[in-house]
C-alpha cells in the first residue's frame, strides 16, 4: 500500500451557488487505503464537497488536488480512476441489470470482453447474479443500491466515493452493503463516504470530519472524537411533563454537561448509573431512564448544538 500518499488534498476549499455558500473553506487530506467519512446533517455541504472531489463540479475557491491532479483541468483522467456511488440512483431504468454494467464499463474505454468479465464478477460480488436479466425498474431500493455499487466498481477504482450509501435502505440491506464495503476496504480500496448516520460512520470510517454549515468542526477517528468531545457515558432521562427546562436546572450539577432535547434530557458523565441514581435520590421520577455509551451523535450535538436527525 502507498501508506501516506494523499489521494485527496483540499485547502480552503469553497463552493458557492449564486449567493449561497455551501462549502466555506475546508481542509481535508485523504490517504490511500483509508476509509474517510464526512459526517453531518443534510445541507451541511457534504454532497457539494463530494461533487468537487469527483471532478464534476468546479471549486469556487481554494485548492484541490485529486490523485495528484487538478479536477478542473484533468477531469477525465481523474474520473477514470474513481468510482462514484451517488446519493440518488442514476441507473438506466430502461436497461437490464447486466446491461447497465456493460454499457457503463465502455465509458472507461474497456473492451467488450473485459467489461463482460468484470460485470459477471461484480454481479456475484453484490449478489445480483440471479437478477442479471431483470429490468432495473423492477428492483427494490436495496437491490438498486447494490447495482449502483457494482457499477461504480467496473473500472476497478483506486478510490470509491459513496454519498449517503445506505440512506433509505432497510436494516438487512444496510448490513449487506456495509459488509461489501468492508471487504473492499480490506482489498485496499480507499473509501470516501458521506453519511448522517453515526453508526455507519463508526462502522466504516477510520477517520472522519464532522461538517456543519459548510465548515469542518472536528476531525479524528470515531473513538478519538468521542473521547475529545463527549463524556464516556450518557444518562438519557424522559419526563412526561413539558417542564424539561425546570427539571434541567435541578439536575444540572449531576453531570459534566447537559443537553435539553424536545423529548428528553441528556446528562453527560463518566458514570451514567451514578447520575441515574442521584436523580432518583433527588426525588425525581423520570418516566424512563437509559444509560449508554457516548456516540458520534453526542459529539455532533455537543459541537453544533443540533441533532443529526434534524
Amino acid at each position: 500500500m502507498g501508506g501516506d500518499e494523499a489521494l485527496v488534498e483540499a485547502r480552503g476549499l469553497r463552493k458557492s451557488y449564486g449567493a449561497v455558500e455551501a462549502v466555506r473553506g475546508i481542509d481535508v487530506t485523504v490517504r490511500r487505503g483509508e476509509a474517510f467519512g464526512f459526517l453531518g446533517p443534510n445541507g451541511a455541504g457534504k454532497s457539494s464537497t463530494m461533487r468537487m472531489i469527483a471532478a464534476v463540479s468546479p471549486p469556487s475557491g481554494g485548492t484541490l488536488r485529486v490523485l495528484g491532479m487538478d479536477p478542473t483541468d484533468d477531469g477525465p483522467a481523474i474520473r477514470s480512476r474513481l468510482g462514484v456511488c451517488p446519493q440518488e440512483d442514476t441507473l438506466d431504468n430502461e436497461l437490464t441489470v447486466r446491461e447497465n454494467l456493460l454499457v457503463y464499463g465502455r465509458f472507461f474505454g474497456l473492451s467488450r470482453p473485459e467489461v463482460a468479465r468484470r460485470a459477471d464478477e461484480l454481479l456475484a460480488f453484490v449478489q445480483l447474479s440471479d437478477r442479471a436479466g431483470a429490468r432495473v425498474e423492477q428492483l427494490s431500493g436495496g437491490l438498486k443500491r447494490r447495482l449502483t455499487v457494482a457499477r461504480s466498481l467496473i473500472n476497478e477504482p483506486e478510490m470509491l466515493m459513496l454519498d449517503e450509501p445506505t440512506t433509505g435502505l432497510d436494516p438487512q440491506a444496510r448490513h449487506l452493503l456495509w459488509d461489501r464495503l468492508f471487504r473492499l476496504k480490506q482489498q485496499g480500496t480507499t473509501l470516501l463516504l458521506t453519511t448522517h448516520y453515526m453508526d455507519e460512520a463508526e462502522q466504516l470510517c477510520d477517520r472522519l470530519v464532522v461538517i456543519d454549515e459548510g465548515v469542518i468542526v472536528a476531525e479524528g477517528s470515531p473513538a478519538q472524537l468521542i473521547r475529545d468531545h463527549s463524556s464516556r457515558e450518557v444518562c438519557e432521562l424522559r419526563f412526561g411533563a413539558d417542564d424539561h427546562q425546570g427539571v434541567a436546572e435541578r439536575i444540572q450539577h449531576l453531570g459534566e454537561r447537559l443537553e435539553v432535547l424536545p423529548d428528553r434530557l441528556l446528562v453527560y458523565a463518566a458514570d451514567g448509573e451514578a447520575v441515574a441514581q442521584a436523580v432518583h435520590e433527588g426525588g425525581l421520577t423520570p418516566r424512563s431512564t437509559l444509560v449508554r455509551r457516548s456516540t458520534l451523535e453526542d459529539v455532533f450535538l455537543h459541537l453544533t448544538g443540533r441533532s443529526l436527525a434534524e
Partner: protein, 266 residues
C-alpha cells in the same frame, strides 16, 4: 487499471456507442412500425383522399402545377422528421437530467457534458436517418419521387431534424418542469407543423404571416425537400435553404453545449 485515458472528444463520444445501441435496440421495433405506418396513412388520407378534391379542376398553378399528392408528400417527410426530432430532444433529455438522471452517471465516468451531448445528438441523427429513409421508401411506393435528385431528400431530412433537435435540446436542458413542453408544442410545434407550407402553399397567407413563416426552419426544410422529390432543384435557392438550416444547427449546438454544461456541472 482503467483503459487509457483518451480526452479527445471523438474517443469519448465513440465510447457511448454501446449505451445508445442498447437503448436503440429496446425501442427501434415500435418506432419502425409507426415510422412506416403513419406516412402510409397520411399519404392515403391527405394525398389521395383530400387530393382528389384539390385536383378536381386539374393541377393547380399555386401548387407549382403538380398533383396534390406530389405537393404534400415532401411536406409530410419534412414535418415527420421535425416531429421525430422534437420527440427525441425534449422528454428524453429532461428525463436523463431529472428522472433517471442517467446524464449524471455518465459524467461521473471520464465523459464530459460535451461528450454526452454529442453522443446523444449522434443518436438523434441516427433516428432521424431511419425516419427519413423509411418515409422515403414509402414515397417511392407511392411513386412520388423523381430520381436521382430525390435521393438527397434523405440527408436533407436529417438536416431538418437536427435544425430542430439542437435548439430544443438546449431548451430542455434548462427546463425545471415538463409542463414547459406543453407550451413548446402548443405555441411552437403545432403552428409550425400547420403553417410551414407542408399542406398548402404559404403564398395563400397574408403577407405579414408569409414573412413570419420564412423565419421558420421547417418552411425552408419543406421547400428544400419538395424541390428534391419533384426533381427540380434550384441551386441558389436550395443552397440558401441548406445554409439557413445549418445556421439553426450551429446556433442550437452552441446553446445546447452551454445549457448542458451549466445544468450538469454546477
Amino acid at each position: 487499471m482503467a483503459g487509457r485515458v483518451e480526452s479527445a472528444t471523438a474517443g469519448l463520444v465513440w465510447r457511448q456507442l454501446d449505451h445508445w445501441r442498447v437503448r436503440w435496440r429496446r425501442t427501434w421495433r415500435g418506432s419502425a412500425v409507426t415510422t412506416f405506418v403513419l406516412p402510409v396513412l397520411y399519404l392515403l388520407a391527405m394525398g389521395v383522399g383530400l387530393g382528389a378534391y384539390v385536383d378536381e379542376g386539374g393541377p393547380q398553378a399555386s401548387l407549382g402545377g403538380v398533383n396534390y399528392l406530389d405537393f404534400i408528400a415532401p411536406g409530410l417527410l419534412a414535418t415527420s422528421v421535425m416531429q421525430t426530432a422534437v420527440g427525441a430532444s425534449t422528454w428524453p433529455v429532461l428525463g436523463a437530467i431529472k428522472w433517471d438522471k442517467t446524464y449524471f452517471a455518465m459524467i461521473a465516468s471520464p465523459l464530459r457534458p460535451r461528450d454526452v451531448l454529442l453522443g446523444n445528438l449522434a443518436f438523434v441523427a441516427a433516428r432521424l436517418l431511419m425516419t427519413a429513409a423509411v418515409f422515403w421508401l414509402v414515397l417511392l411506393l407511392f411513386g412520388v419521387v423523381a430520381l436521382p435528385w430525390a435521393l438527397l431528400a434523405i440527408p436533407a431530412g436529417v438536416l431538418i431534424g437536427m435544425a430542430h433537435a439542437t435548439p430544443l435540446f438546449a431548451l430542455s436542458a434548462r427546463l425545471e418542469r415538463e409542463t414547459g413542453f406543453m407550451l413548446i408544442y402548443r405555441i411552437g410545434v403545432v403552428p409550425m407543423f400547420l403553417f410551414s407550407g407542408a399542406f398548402f402553399p404559404v403564398s395563400q397567407l397574408p403577407d405579414p404571416l408569409q414573412w413570419l413563416t420564412q423565419l421558420l426552419p421547417l418552411f425552408h426544410g419543406v421547400e428544400l425537400v419538395r424541390a428534391l422529390t419533384l426533381g427540380r432543384p434550384d441551386l441558389l435557392v436550395d443552397v440558401g435553404h441548406v445554409a439557413y438550416l445549418l445556421l439553426w444547427c450551429v446556433v442550437g449546438l452552441a446553446l445546447a453545449d452551454r445549457s448542458l454544461a451549466r445544468r450538469l456541472g454546477g
